[in-house]
């Protein structure tokens, strides 16, 4: 179909989005070429100085990026495995099927920062229930103030929060699968494990890839949880890219420099997602 | 009162969906567009409806420029091969929809809708939900919706193809009755189909279409008796007309070193040279004194048997009146009924037919 009316449908949304976004993006590019900070708040032009600094003299940014990669890849992997497992279980007949489906969805409906506030009391090192129970075994892990363990705590919270989203996408996918391949597999006498590897998993590959990419994109923005749980600490032990940029831009007010960080980060993200998507397609689709 | 298409062409990509289509259609008649899948039938119907704007060409209805009227003012009706209705409306509301769109008075709408529902045999179903109907009933609703408008052009795009065999036969019969009745006296009815039998049964005119072009237009009798080229001969017959190459020499038709036939009366004047010969499956029968062919496949269809047989380069399909089983590779003796022989020249154009003789 092709009518002039088509613009009446498309343009309102497109123009509103462009109008809201053009300035921020253009301005960020310009800002990244300036030295705007709290001492000298003006849009001067210093060329690519910020970028030079970022590539040669900012180990903290790259460490934060490494940490973010570790956190997001690990948590998304765990979310995928657990989410897929749970989806497979409640996909088939099980007692209280609908109750479990609702229950497993609930965490994604909750506000991450608010639940993290609760988690902070939950993992509180002297007053929280976790260490209270562990005290019977005479251990008192430093969930929030140990450099290694704090990363682990962030992961627990992330997995709790976002496994439901993976679960939802995968269960919706499972429920939309055609019945015939499963019938054929059962006629051929394939057991549940063979059926999974030869039928379910290959059929779910496109949906899996989509779900993993969506979650990786969301996970690459991790910052709310970190802000509330550990404030990036102890030291910089749980600082992610977003959080570091936030500190530089909106705590230290180095607007120019943080703009350069933002753009570099965004471009790295776009490149990574493109590569990861291609890799996943190769890995999961060739697998069958 | 007529619909005239001239030089309609549409080429969205590298292939012509419509290639210089011309025709003239007049009111109160059924036109069947017969062609294989992807021949351009649906494109043609959508172009007539106004859903596709052709790259070139004009459409006129009663001397008015029809092609420049937007779809929603064009006063056409269309039934799709998928059962398309408005899922959120009841049967009554579905059929009333086009009339409400015209702001007709409600008592008038009611009378027209009830009449249309009665015509398609759905009286009593007014308040049903569309989803609660069977496929055949859904298609009747779609048909009622196209009738109720009393549109000047009614388009039916393979409306029966998604129904099971028995229902298809039954509905086709009903369609023919509805459309030959008073109701459609003022409409041009265009029906597309891949099935030659269906086209013949509907009567009226046939337009044979292939690769976006209209190959032949004529009454069903004309198209059946004198297909103007080999493609038409294939498209208008099920199974497709057998085609095989051979020579005419010395008053005989030489097909291979072993097979030669006598020239039948209607081919007597043929000049010496190479031709393409055509014969319907029914013209090829078993006969103990015939030529030896080996069986490639036999298909039983109802009380008949289609026999796919081959002799050297000549592969043909024969039709037997009874149910018989054959083994693959089995040698059978076959006779060609030359009284039913068609002859085409090297350019695939008809030279001689059993009904008209030599051109």
């Amino acid at each position: 179909m092709n009518f002039k009316h088509k613009y009446l449908f498309l343009l309102p949304g497109l123009l509103v989005l462009l109008a809201i976004l053009i300035f921020p993006i253009g301005f960020t590019v310009r800002l990244s070429l300036s030295s705007w900070d709290s001492f000298y708040p003006a849009l001067d032009f210093i060329g690519i100085e910020n970028y030079v600094r970022l590539f040669t003299d900012d180990a903290r940014f790259w460490e934060a990026f490494g940490r973010l990669s570790l956190l997001s890849v690990t948590t998304v992997f765990l979310q995928y495995v657990i989410g897929f497992g749970l989806a497979l279980i409640v996909w088939k007949e099980i007692a209280f099927q609908r109750f479990f489906r609702v229950l497993f969805l609930i965490p994604m409906m909750t506000t991450p920062v608010i639940m993290t506030v609760i988690w902070r009391t939950f993992f509180h090192e002297s007053l929280g229930p976790v260490n209270d129970i562990l005290s019977h075994f005479n251990v008192a892990p430093l969930w929030l103030s140990s450099e290694t363990l704090s990363k682990f705590t962030v992961m627990i919270v992330e997995v709790w929060q976002w496994t439901p989203f993976m679960f939802l996408l995968l269960l919706a996918g499972l429920l939309s699968l055609p019945k015939e391949p499963f019938l054929a597999a059962s006629i051929d006498g394939a057991g549940p494990i063979r059926t999974f590897f030869y039928v379910t998993f290959p059929l779910m590959a496109p949906i899996s890839i989509g779900a993993i990419i969506i979650r990786l994109i969301e996970a690459s923005k991790i910052m709310d949880t970190v802000y509330v749980l550990t404030s990036g600490g102890p030291g910089t032990a749980t600082e992610t890219s977003s959080f570091y940029i936030f500190i530089k831009g909106l705590r230290e007010f180095q607007f120019g420099y943080s703009a350069a960080l933002s753009l570099t980060y965004l471009i790295i993200m776009i490149i990574s997602f493109t590569i990861i998507a291609k890799l996943l397609v190769k890995l999961m689709v060739r697998g069958n | 009162m007529s619909l005239i298409a001239s030089n309609l062409s549409f080429k969205p990509g590298n292939e012509w969906h419509l290639d210089n289509v011309c025709f003239e259609m007049s009111k109160g008649q059924i036109y069947t567009i017969l062609g294989r899948t992807l021949a351009g039938k649906t494109t043609l119907l959508k172009t007539l409806a106004g859903l596709i704007s052709p790259d070139e060409g004009t459409l006129t209805l009663d001397d008015r420029d029809f092609g420049s009227i937007p779809v929603w003012k064009r006063e056409v009706a269309m039934v799709y091969q998928q059962f398309i209705n408005y899922p959120h409306l009841s049967v009554y509301e579905n059929v009333a929809f086009p009339l409400k769109q015209r702001r007709m008075q409600s008592d008038q709408i009611k009378a027209r809708v009830m009449k249309a529902l009665q015509q398609v045999g759905l009286d009593g179903f007014e308040n049903r939900k569309i989803q609660a109907l069977s496929g055949g009933q859904q298609q009747r609703v779609a048909l009622a919706r196209s009738l109720v408008k009393e549109a000047s052009v009614i388009l039916l795009d393979e409306p029966l193809v998604n129904l099971d065999y028995k229902l298809r036969e039954q509905l086709r019969e009903e369609f023919r009755n509805i459309f030959s009745s008073e109701a459609s006296k003022d409409s041009i009815l265009i029906y597309s189909s891949t099935d030659p039998v269906e086209a013949m049964q509907l009567g009226g005119q046939i337009l044979v279409m292939d690769e976006g072009r209209i190959l032949q237009q004529g009454t069903s009798k004309e198209v059946y008796e004198n297909p103007n080229c080999t493609k038409v001969a294939q498209i208008t017959n099920d199974p497709a007309m057998n085609l095989f190459e051979g020579r005419v020499d010395n008053g005989r038709i030489i097909l291979s070193s072993e097979i030669d036939l006598e020239l039948p009366q209607h081919c007597k004047g043929l000049a010496t040279g190479s031709y393409i010969f055509g014969m319907r499956a029914a013209g090829i029968t078993l006969n103990s004194t015939g030529f030896p062919f080996s069986v490639e496949l036999s298909e039983i269809s109802g009380s008949e048997t289609f026999l796919h047989i081959r002799h050297e380069m000549i592969g043909v399909v024969g039709l037997l009146d009874s149910v018989q089983n054959f083994n693959t590779g089995e040698v059978v003796r076959v006779q060609f009924d030359t009284l039913q022989l068609y002859v085409f020249d090297q350019n695939e154009q008809l030279v001689s037919s059993p009904y008209r003789g030599l051109e």
């Binding site: 179909m1 092709n2 009518f3 088509k6 009446l8 498309l10 309102p12 949304g13 497109l14 509103v16 976004l21 921020p24 993006i25 301005f27 749970l86 099980i94 479990f100 489906r101 609702v102 229950l103 497993f104 409906m109 909750t110 506000t111 920062v113 608010i114 639940m115 506030v117 609760i118 009391t121 229930p129 209270d132 269960l171 919706a172 996918g173 429920l175 939309s176 994109i217 969301e218 690459s220 910052m223 709310d224 509330v228 940029i245 933002s262 965004l266 | 409806a49 106004g50 859903l51 779809v71 929603w72 003012k73 269309m78 398309i84 209705n85 408005y86 929809f97 086009p98 769109q101 919706r145």
Partner: protein, 282 residues
Amino acid sequence: MRVLYTSLKYLAVVLWSIFVIAPFLWAVSTSFKDFQSVTNGATYIPWVDFEPNLEGWRALWKSPAQGGVDIVEPFFNSVFVTASGSLISIILGTLAAYALSRFTFKAGFIRNGDITFFFISQRIMPPVVLAIPFFIMLGKFSLLDTLAGLIIVYIVLLMPIAVWIMVDFFNKVPVEIDETALIDGCNPLQVFYKVVLPNSIPGIIVAGMFCMIFGWTDFFFSFILTFTEVQLLPVAIVALNSSITPWWSLSAAALVSVAPLVLVAFIVERYLSKGNLSGALK
């Protein structure tokens, strides 16, 4: 073998359920505590481990000056911003998705797919990248610390979700229905509101739920772009986190803010089990 498989299945489900519920149970329990029962170490069961009181819940209505939290206004601010942002996003997003699913657009090298990608790709943008320019832009238009400013930002946040879900939804609805409506005398605008819209309600509800989830749970933008005049619920609650820790009112406030969206989980599950969600999510 079969018994082992079944018991493992139930074990997994029960363990995960405990993990899911644990923070909620803890929050419920904490919300009935007072200073004494919090600082004495972890306690769990009211009347057994500690003497419950309603201090935490009462604080929700008291102003901060009286030692309360006062989440009533932030609650309604959140409702207003989420609802308006979602509504505008759904309206604009559904229209755009319909155009992208049904019509062909060509401009230079740009095709439908590219425009769809432009919409959806806004989700890749980390909030922190947009935060500074938004901060400056809203400041220029005097929209910092206002509900209107937040709604504008929420449109960027939510429209990609609406477009993503609705394009998939429309792609699954046969285009012949639209064509039939055109033939029956509707112009393209009438086709949309008389035929397409009434048949798109399941898709719109799913898209609306996702917009509400992502709008209601957002923290960062309201945190950066509002200060004192306007406060949204997450910001109000997180603000408590940094002050002297009144765990009881904190827990009560958290439960109140989480409760409305938990109801959405029931609706999502209904759609999921009826198979309507798989059409809308892919």
